[in-house]
Structures are given as structure tokens and as C-alpha cells.
């Protein structure tokens, strides 16, 4: 067994975990469960970067991996954790699309992702590129979470699923975007989460709930 095949198997495992966590975020109703799916996804993304870094002997990718662990594995889930504690009723009790139907939708979206990325996968034969459908499916499932979930916490998680999916596609296609861009992107996301968190906290103070459906009227 060569080092190359071990790296390929590890990459398949980590990028598969990224997609699985997206499906789990759709499956779980409890806000705590959704956030922990996001946390595991952050670690899986960081692990993908680390495996690629070791395989290609790119020390900068290891730095990226450390950055991903710090931001997507630790910082963002921690911000969410405080939100969930603020409003214990932030679980998805009544989603727009019910859970079995959204899981079937996730299957369809994954199939779409596999069909849509086929030209890319077939043009280049090689292990990181063949895994691109996983990242693309994660993006699509993230969009679906944005559409089909009502609560503020799950919608923010949906946004982050889209971001993680794009991150995975970028990692696998370009075998690591330049560190500067990765740093900018990741810190942008962190900033977005902080802003959204402030917004949601104010919403909780005004309305007492974190349900976006109750924001329907404009006031001065």
C-alpha cells in the first residue's frame, strides 16, 4: 500500500464527512445538534487541508488547516453555542419543508451535484478532483437549508454550509488557494457571523424569539 493511496482514502473520508455533516444539519431538529454538525464539518474541512498539505508538501496548507480549525472548528461554533443558550427554543419545531421531504431533497441535490460536476471530474483524472462533487453537493444543501428552515440559527448555519462547501471545492480544485485569499475569506465569514450574532441578539431582545417568520412588518 503506497502513501499515495492512503492519502487518497483519507481525502475521500474527510470530504465525505463534510457532505455527511451537511445532511446531518438538515436531519437534526435540535439547534444544539445542528451546531455540532457544523463544528464537525469545520474540523473535517481542516483535516482535508492538512492531508492535502502533507501529500503535496505544502507547509502553507498546514497553516490554512490551523486557521480553519481555529475559526470554523472553534470560534464560530462557540458563538453559536452562546446563541443557543440564549434561546433554548431555537430548535426547528416547524420547518417550511418537513424533515423527510428535505432529506429526499438533499438526495436529489446531491445527484444534481454529481451530474453537474461530471465534466470537471472527467476532464482531469486524479484523486482530489474526483471528490469535487462532495463540495458542490454541500453548497447546494446549504442553499436548501437557507430556503427551508425558519429559525435564525439554522439559517446562519445554512450560510456557513455554503461557505464550507465552496471552501472544499476550492481546496480540491486548486489544491489550496493562496493563504492570503483563504485568510481574507475565513475572516470575512467570521465577521459575518459576529454581525449576524449581534443582529440576532437584538432580535431576541425585541421579540423574545429567533424565528425569522415573525419579521414581516417594517417599522420606523
Amino acid at each position: 500500500m503506497t502513501n499515495h493511496s492512503v492519502a487518497a482514502a483519507l481525502l475521500a473520508l474527510t470530504s465525505g464527512t463534510v457532505l455527511l455533516c451537511a445532511a446531518l444539519a438538515l436531519w437534526r431538529r435540535a439547534a444544539r445538534g445542528i451546531v455540532s454538525a457544523l463544528r464537525v464539518q469545520g474540523y473535517a474541512l481542516a483535516a482535508t487541508a492538512a492531508v492535502l498539505g502533507v501529500q503535496l508538501h505544502e507547509p502553507l496548507l498546514l497553516v490554512t488547516s490551523g486557521l480553519l480549525v481555529a475559526v470554523k472548528g472553534v470560534a464560530i461554533p462557540m458563538l453559536f453555542g452562546r446563541l443557543v443558550r440564549l434561546d433554548p427554543a431555537s430548535s426547528e419545531t416547524d420547518p417550511v419543508v418537513n424533515v423527510p421531504a428535505s432529506l429526499v431533497a438533499a438526495v436529489v441535490l446531491t445527484l444534481v451535484a454529481f451530474v453537474a460536476t461530471r465534466p470537471i471530474v472527467e476532464s482531469v483524472r486524479g484523486v482530489p478532483i474526483t471528490l469535487v462533487p462532495f463540495g458542490f453537493a454541500t453548497v447546494l444543501i446549504g442553499f436548501f437549508v437557507l430556503v427551508a428552515r425558519r429559525k435564525a440559527v439554522s439559517q446562519m448555519v445554512g450560510l456557513l454550509l455554503v461557505d464550507n462547501g465552496i471552501g472544499l471545492v476550492a481546496l480540491l480544485l486548486t489544491t489550496g488557494v493562496p493563504l492570503l485569499i483563504e485568510l481574507g475569506g475565513t475572516l470575512d465569514v467570521l465577521l459575518v457571523v459576529v454581525v449576524l450574532r449581534v443582529l440576532v441578539t437584538r432580535m431576541h431582545a425585541q421579540l423574545g424569539v429567533l424565528d425569522l417568520d415573525s419579521l414581516q412588518e417594517l417599522r420606523d
Binding site: M1, S5, A9, A12, L13, G16, T17, L19, L20, A23, W27, V99, P100, L103, V104, A106, V107, T110, L111, F114, V121, T130, L131, P133, F134
Partner: protein, 320 residues
């Protein structure tokens, strides 16, 4: 291996695994009950209590509801018979089984389904309210669990290009790397959920309650008594045993005999018993920690199993 080359060992392995399962299945259910009782701080019945109950039931007189047809009496026999055929086909002790041709995962799934359907029909046959309720619930769950199981099988069959059980088991023995691939992990998750649903364990069904609002399997066997009830109970425990044995050999195939020698057979039987007992203890310990799902939430769980198995097949396609 052609038909003429079937050795005494292969015939023996089929006989041994059928005998082992029939004797061991009620003990396995007893073991799970004991583990659960101990974890909940109760003493619980001894492990062999299930066998004592079966012996008591077999000695009793047969009774049958007034309006029911012959099918009511046939269904328990069908349940036990199909499960024993499945046990004979499954490579439990050796990968070189005598019944190589029939040992196909799809055939095994549909044989198990035949047992469920006959029990559901017999419950309808009694004409009671609970019988109809139980069979409609069972069919709803089976209709959701079967697709998940079949798609998960596809993910396991893809790397070896065969849905034959001995080939899958032998393939994963030769390539230990396959055991940690995403498709196998996802298929494992789907298998576990489906097995819990098919065998009526928590969180899908609580085997220890007769509460009319929640029961599924108990509602099906409500009208059975005496020897018929003994057959239904034996059939259900055999089904649980064969499903756990299937799970352990598909995903943790170590210890199964690949050579036809006496020593490897003895080792294989011991390892198989240990693996199945460990899985059963794990299931029982898990049952202490979870509550039963509301009936309307069960489709969510099974839809999750379906997603896991579809993802397993897609990863098998990507990585192949």
C-alpha cells in the same frame, strides 16, 4: 467450486450455523434483556428465561380466533421457516458456504420481508382493531426501511461487482482498507438504523411494552397464544440474531473461516458468537439511553437511513 466438490465441512457449516442460531437466538434476547435490566439497576430474569417461556408455551393448547382462516396458523411457521432459510444461506461460519448460489443479499432481504408480510397478513386475518393497526404500522415502516437497506447493499456490492454475500465478505477480508472507506461507514449507519427498525427495537418500537398507542410488533402477535406464540417469539429472535450476524460479518469480517479445516471452524464459531453477543450488548446498552420516537418521527429516522445509503452509493461511484 462445482456442486460435486461440496465437502462434508460445507454441509456441516450450514447445519452448525442453523443449530447455533436456533439455540442461541432466545438466549441472545435473554442476554439483551438482562443487560438492560442491570443497567437500569434491576436484577432481571436469568438469560435462559426466554427458553423457559418458550418451553412452557409449546406445552400449551393451541387456540385460534373464531373468524380467522388457515393463514393465522401458517404465518408463524412461515416466519420461522424463511428466517431459517436465511440463516442457512448467510455465510456466518465460513465464506465457502455450500449454498453459494442463493447467498445473495437481495434474496436474503426479500426472504426476511416475506416473514414480516406473512405476520402482518395474519394480524389482519384476526379482524381485531389492534391487528390491523399493527400491520399497517409495520408495513409503513418496512416500506421505508427496505429501500434504504437495498441501496446500502448496492454500496457494499459496488467494489466487488457482486451482491453475493460470501464474495463481499471475502473481498473486505482481502482489502482491509475498504473497511474505513466513506461508503462503508455510511452504509454501516444505514444498516444499523434499518436493523433496529426491522427487529422492532428502540427507538422505533419498544419490545417491552404493551401500550396500545405505541406498539407495533406487539400488536401483531396479540392474538397468538400457546405454540403459535412460541413460534412467533422464536421467529422474531431468530430474525434479530441473523440481522446482527449479517451486520458483524459484513462490516467486521475478521475471524470467519476461509479454509475448510476443523480448527478454523471452531475459531470462527467462537468469534461469531462473541461478535454477535457484543453487538447485542451494544444495542441493549443503547436502548437504555434513548427514548422511543413518536410514531410520526419514525419516517424521519428512516429517511435519514435512506440518505446515508444514497450517499454511500454516490461515494462508491466517486471513489471507484
Amino acid at each position: 467450486m462445482n456442486a460435486a466438490g461440496i465437502s462434508v465441512w460445507q454441509i456441516g457449516s450450514v447445519a452448525v450455523q442453523v443449530a447455533l442460531c436456533v439455540v442461541g437466538a432466545p438466549l441472545l434476547v435473554g442476554l439483551m434483556r438482562t443487560v438492560r435490566c442491570r443497567l437500569e439497576g434491576r436484577v432481571g430474569p436469568p438469560v435462559r428465561q426466554t427458553w423457559r417461556d418458550l418451553r412452557k408455551l409449546l406445552a400449551k393448547q393451541r387456540t385460534q380466533p373464531e373468524q380467522s382462516s388457515f393463514f393465522f396458523a401458517v404465518a408463524p411457521v412461515v416466519l420461522v421457516a424463511t428466517t431459517i432459510v436465511v440463516i442457512a444461506f448467510t455465510p456466518m461460519v465460513t465464506t465457502r458456504t455450500a449454498l453459494l448460489g442463493g447467498s445473495d443479499l437481495f434474496a436474503i432481504v426479500f426472504l426476511l420481508l416475506l416473514g414480516s408480510v406473512s405476520l402482518a397478513l395474519a394480524a389482519l386475518d384476526t379482524g381485531t382493531a389492534f391487528g390491523g393497526m399493527g400491520s399497517s404500522r409495520l408495513m409503513a415502516i418496512v416500506a421505508l426501511a427496505e429501500p434504504a437497506l437495498l441501496v446500502a447493499i448496492l454500496a457494499l456490492a459496488a467494489p466487488v461487482h457482486s451482491s453475493s454475500l460470501p464474495v463481499i465478505v471475502a473481498g473486505s477480508l482481502h482489502h482491509p482498507m475498504w473497511l474505513a472507506t466513506p461508503q462503508r461507514l455510511l452504509a454501516f449507519g444505514a444498516f444499523v438504523i434499518v436493523i433496529l427498525a426491522e427487529s422492532g427495537r428502540l427507538p422505533v418500537d419498544n419490545p417491552a411494552t404493551h401500550l396500545e398507542l405505541t406498539m407495533i410488533h406487539e400488536a401483531l402477535m396479540l392474538e397468538y397464544s400457546g405454540p403459535d406464540l412460541a413460534f412467533v417469539v422464536l421467529g422474531e429472535s431468530l430474525r434479530l440474531t441473523v440481522l446482527l450476524a449479517l451486520l458483524s460479518n459484513l462490516f467486521f469480517p475478521w475471524g470467519i473461516a476461509t479454509a475448510l479445516t476443523g480448527v478454523s471452524f471452531v475459531v470462527a464459531i467462537a468469534v461469531l458468537a462473541a461478535k454477535v453477543a457484543l453487538l447485542a450488548v451494544a444495542v441493549a446498552a443503547g436502548e437504555v439511553a434513548v427514548a422511543k420516537l413518536r410514531l410520526f418521527r419514525v419516517p424521519e429516522l428512516l429517511a435519514g437511513a435512506f440518505v446515508l445509503s444514497v450517499l454511500a452509493v454516490l461515494s462508491a461511484l466517486v471513489i471507484a
